[in-house]
């Protein structure tokens, strides 16, 4: 990728230079009656030009700002003479856009001086609107006028690889392989409907390496249709998505399935129905994710604001689900397998004092059979409750040293029965009775938080289970400094952070006759770090210290130190280098055995011949010695790519690459582990990006 530099003078940079000479310039009086001309872009990624009067004085110029679709883009304007030039960060879509030239007042307010509405490639906006349409309109014309925008974008890459050399790579693979992938996005907006779709696919002719044992198969996909009416909103989703629910029963549940939602546009009523597969799947074999009745759940949720829709309105939410499932699949490893479950829950959200105090309470009841209906384990009925109250200490935070101080405090209580489980919240931690308190502090670019927890287990008071208690406190801190100038310019834009905690685990209750060991330990950890960003390079560093003391002397006391350092440098438009290292020491204080880990990474990306030949190379060193000794490894990965036909949108490109890796393992005391592996491939690569938009 070639790094391009802006040739035109950056607006504020230019103004700064100009301002230095202001005292020596003959400043003309402000012209109150001037006007600017606007030239819209002729393509989605074209530049916007605001043609200002040639004799506009500098003072007026410094008071101007530009907004595009509500976003202040002033700081990225280029100045070409006295014309404002803006190249959109992202290609503009087919909708109507609004550009405003504003005058900034000293009190921070602004006045719109001129405003232009435009469509890409059109100097004037369309006059028609949807309400003009009648049933007598020809269908095509009606569709064209309803269709506000549409797009199709696809990025594809297909490569044919031929292994030209190999040594000790361990297992048989096809010498010639066809592989590739594609990422497709499409959508349209018509009337009050917006439909978006996304899908990716993978190609792998050596099916032993394919994700689904098919040469070409779908990866993940999602289709979302949304209706935005004047009084009703709704929509549906198909494919991989999340319901957005964050409850005791349904949370962080991203799977393939289908959901439908309906509500009022003022969000007074929001209803949702959903059905998902419980496994995480890819491929086209089960397009809805719902084919397997043993791995499927369904549910509904309803949220109502019964009294008002203002910012403090009371919101009541009800949720129900039932299903069967396994907790395994792509990205998941879980000992627990087939289970059946159902549950219902209610939630309450209410705030007071214009959102200053926020209250959230939930209750859920779950029925869960951890080994399914055919297993011997009983189906458990269990409960969970969660309560959280948060409060902003200041109605209007005090300004200290030019920065506003804001502090939130919160208190929570959670009680989750020992056997509480939900198929739609598989990561939920059950068997805990926990009180927590926290505070977040924000002061300018400083953010800090503190979190205290008191937690016990054995909520169901089982006879053969001891009750342990965890007390912990966490403290975190982040601060970003201003960009340093003058003598301190060498510091760049620095930042620092710190995370630490202290946790004590002890025994509260030991059942009579219990001889399963005591619990009494202390864990502590602190991580200190920082870094800085510069125009063309950055660095970061951190050090972590962790200690574990087991006062029962069953487990070893341990200390771990881990230090990391990373750096990246854009040497030129054509060369990036970066590197990082980690050094860790793990000490077993009881056995006096230490183990050491060292990792080093060095990488470079270079454009050897502009737009033609690229080079990527990296070197990795992994050392593990001491009591945890294992083979040292040195790994080099590299690729040289010659692009003889640059891909353009809707025109495929071709490239030839030589890529390979070499891995050397050194067993140190065990020479049997000494081994060198290498492999190299010639690759013919077809890159084909497609894009259509309306």
């Amino acid at each position: 990728m070639r790094l391009k530099t802006r040739k035109k003078m950056r607006y504020w940079g230019g103004l700064l230079t100009t301002a230095m000479f202001l005292p020596f310039l003959c400043v003309q009086p402000s012209m109150a009656d001037w006007s600017a001309n606007f030239t819209p872009p002729d393509a989605p990624d074209g530049t916007l030009v605001i043609d200002l009067p040639d004799d506009l004085d500098v003072v007026t110029l410094t008071q101007l700002g530009v907004e595009l679709d509500g976003i202040d883009i002033t700081s990225l304007l280029s100045l070409d003479g006295v014309d404002f030039i803006y190249k959109p960060l992202q290609a503009l879509d087919g909708n109507e856009h609004t550009l405003k030239l504003v005058t900034l007042n000293p009190d921070g307010s602004s006045e719109v001086r001129q405003q232009w509405n435009f469509n890409v490639g059109h100097a004037e906006s369309s006059d028609g609107n949807i309400s003009d349409l009648t049933e007598n309109s020809p269908e095509i014309e009606m569709a064209e006028r309803l269709l506000r925008s549409a797009y199709f974008r696809a990025d594809t890459l297909t490569e044919f690889s031929r292994r030209v050399v190999q040594q000790n790579i361990g297992h048989e693979t096809n010498r010639s392989t066809l592989s590739g992938s594609g990422d497709i996005n499409t959508g349209f907006a018509a009337g009050k409907w917006t439909v978006d779709g996304h899908a990716n696919y993978l190609v792998q002719s050596d099916v032993d390496f394919a994700q689904t044992e098919r040469t070409i198969d779908l990866g993940e996909y999602d289709i979302n249709a949304d209706y935005q009416g004047d009084s009703v909103v709704g929509g549906m989703s198909l494919g991989h998505h999340d319901t957005g629910l964050e409850t005791l029963l349904v949370s962080d549940f991203y799977r393939r399935g289908v959901s439908a939602r309906l509500g009022t546009s003022n969000r007074r009523i929001e209803a949702q129905g959903f059905a998902f597969g419980t496994e995480s799947v890819s491929g086209a074999a089960d397009p809805t994710g719902l084919n397997n009745t043993e791995n499927r759940l369904k549910g509904v949720s309803l949220a109502v604001k019964p009294f008002s829709t203002d910012v403090d309105a009371l919101k009541l939410t009800g949720t129900y689900y039932d299903g069967r499932g396994e907790g395994s699949g792509i990205g998941l490893s879980d000992l627990d397998s087939s289970a059946s479950g159902s549950g219902w829950g209610v939630g309450l959200e209410k705030s007071f004092g214009q959102n200053r105090t926020r209250l959230k309470a939930q209750y859920a009841h779950a029925l869960f059979d951890q080994d399914g209906d055919n297993g011997d384990a009983p189906k458990d009925g269990s409960d969970a409750i969660s309560f959280l109250i948060e409060h902003g200490l200041f109605e209007e935070g005090p300004v200290i040293g030019n920065d506003v101080l804001d502090i939130d405090v919160g208190f929570g209580y959670d009680r989750v029965d020992t056997f509480f489980e939900s198929l739609a919240n598989p990561g939920l931690v059950s068997d805990r009775d926990a009180y927590s308190a926290y505070s977040n502090l924000y002061w300018g670019a400083l953010s800090a938080n503190i979190y205290a927890l008191h937690e016990t287990n054995n909520v169901d008071d089982l006879a053969n289970v001891p009750t342990d208690r965890l007390k912990s406190i966490d403290l975190g801190l982040n601060y970003t400094f201003d960009q340093q100038t003058g003598l301190m310019e060498w510091l760049g834009t620095p930042y620092i952070f710190m995370n630490s905690y202290l946790a004590s685990l002890g025994r509260v209750k030991t059942p009579t006759g219990y001889d399963g060991g005591d619990t009494d330990n202390l864990s502590s950890s602190i991580t200190l770090g920082g870094g800085s960003n510069y125009d063309d390079w950055y660095w970061s560093a951190s050090h972590s210290y962790s200690r574990f003391d087991d006062y029962t002397n069953v487990s070893s006391d341990t200390v771990n130190n881990l230090t990391g350092f990373n750096v990246g440098w854009i040497v030129s438009d054509r060369l990036d280098v970066n590197g990082g290292t980690q050094f860790g020491v793990f000490e077993d204080l009881d056995t006096n055995k230490n183990s050491f880990t060292t990792n080093l990474y060095l990488g470079a990306t270079a454009e050897l011949v502009p737009d033609k030949v690229d080079l990527n190379i990296d070197y990795n060193l992994n050392l593990a010695n001491g009591s945890g000794d294992s083979s040292d490894s040195h790994i080099v990965n590299s690729e040289v790519e010659w692009t003889f036909l640059q891909p353009r949108t809707n025109r495929p490109g071709l490239a030839l690459a030589l890529r390979g890796s070499m891995e050397e393992f050194n067993g140190n005391t065990d020479s049997a582990q000494n081994e060198t592996e290498y492999q190299a491939y010639m690759v013919l690569r077809v890159k084909a990006p497609f894009s259509l938009s309306y």
């Binding site: 627990d336 935070g397 890796s661």
Partner: protein, 351 residues
């Protein structure tokens, strides 16, 4: 003359064991059977049909299978035979063990050399175990946009997240390991992307979230990524994520950018500072403010990548109404106009 060998002792290690309250457990046991031959050389079969789980003296289940081994001894000679086995405790049995009176649960085996027998037993309890040894029982691996199979544009920033459920407390020793495209068609060892050492604690069951460093996206092709961890007794096979890197501009990164302030739900004023973490490769950052639940931007500002913070007063506030709540998010763009970072939407309130 009939030989009269003796099983002189049977012991088991460990003598106490803990099983999980919930779900299945595996108990690794070693039985040591010591024989003595007082008279003449003999060869006998030493065996045990199965282990027995007893609660309050009543047999609840037979566990394991036949253990047997030939034993040949000369006169006046003795030997110790070692039998290793792993017993599976089903969720149903774990439940019975947890509910039984403490000290009433025993697992025993009786060994015989066809002439004499010997028995050993261990006590079984429920809970996190002696000394609270850390045990990993679930790993959920995904990218920061929630996907588990992804196609990523070259140069984009993407991270992986490991959601780990564990029992007890201790030092989590893990490694992010990756296989690059240059090796993903051949070797399967890969390289260490980052070593993770994180002290984790819980009163019984806990959960932690580990975020990977930015994943390599400089080369076209298939990458394989996993998070390997020690003490993963319950994990039969580590999960592997795969992502393919290609040239492109259509990627949709979601929620991979970390904002530092203001907090979610904060009441903001003109002096409120929006601050965020650096995204390598960013050309500019764009703060966007929306009406809650809507996608149309009502206000916002673009700043260059050197800026990692911005005061609210720098925004055009004309479109923001006092007394209203808004969503805000931050997006990072690279040189090519691609969105390489995006933060989750968070709520702010204009007093």
């Amino acid at each position: 003359m009939i030989a009269e060998a003796n099983v002189s002792s049977v012991t088991v290690s460990p003598q106490r064991a803990n099983v999980n309250v919930k779900g299945a457990s595996a108990l690794s046991l070693t039985w040591n059977v010591t024989r003595f031959e007082p008279t003449a050389p003999t060869t006998v079969l030493v065996s045990s049909t199965n282990a027995v789980l007893q609660i309050n003296g009543s047999t609840v289940a037979n566990l394991g299978g036949l253990l047997s081994r030939q034993s040949s001894l000369a006169a006046a000679q003795s030997e110790t035979l070692r039998f290793n086995e792993v017993l599976s405790i089903s969720p149903a049995l774990a439940r019975k063990i947890a509910e039984a009176p403490a000290g009433s649960v025993l697992i025993s085996r009786t060994f015989t050399d066809t002439q004499t027998t010997g028995l050993a037993r261990l006590s079984v309890f429920a809970g996190t175990g002696q000394g609270g040894a850390l045990s990993i029982n679930r790993i959920d691996l995904k990218f920061d946009n929630d996907a588990r199979t992804d196609v990523i544009a070259k140069g984009d920033t993407r991270r992986a997240i490991a959601e780990i459920n564990f029992r007890s407390s201790g030092l989590l020793k893990g490694e992010w390991r990756i296989i690059d495209p240059s090796a993903s068609l051949g070797s399967a060892r890969g390289r260490i992307l980052q070593v993770v050492r994180q002290q984790v604690v819980s009163s019984g069951q806990g959960r932690t979230r580990i975020v990977s460093p930015a994943l390599p996206t400089a080369k076209n092709g298939l990458y394989l990524l996993t998070f390997s961890v020690e003490d993963a007794d319950g994990i039969a096979e580590l999960p592997v994520l795969r992502y393919f890197v290609l040239e492109g501009a259509t990627d949709r990164p979601r929620d991979n950018l970390t904002t530092l302030s203001p907090g979610n739900g904060a009441r903001v004023s003109q002096d409120t500072v929006f601050a965020w973490e650096n995204v390598p490769g960013a050309l500019a950052y764009q703060i966007e403010i929306f009406n809650p639940g809507h996608s149309k931007v009502v206000s916002g500002k673009v700043v260059s990548a050197k800026d990692l913070k911005l005061r609210l007063s720098a925004f055009s506030l004309d479109n923001l109404t006092s007394g209203e709540s808004y969503d805000w998010r931050l997006r990072a763009f690279d040189q090519e106009g691609r969105v390489i970072g995006s933060s989750p939407r968070q709520l702010i309130y204009m007093p």
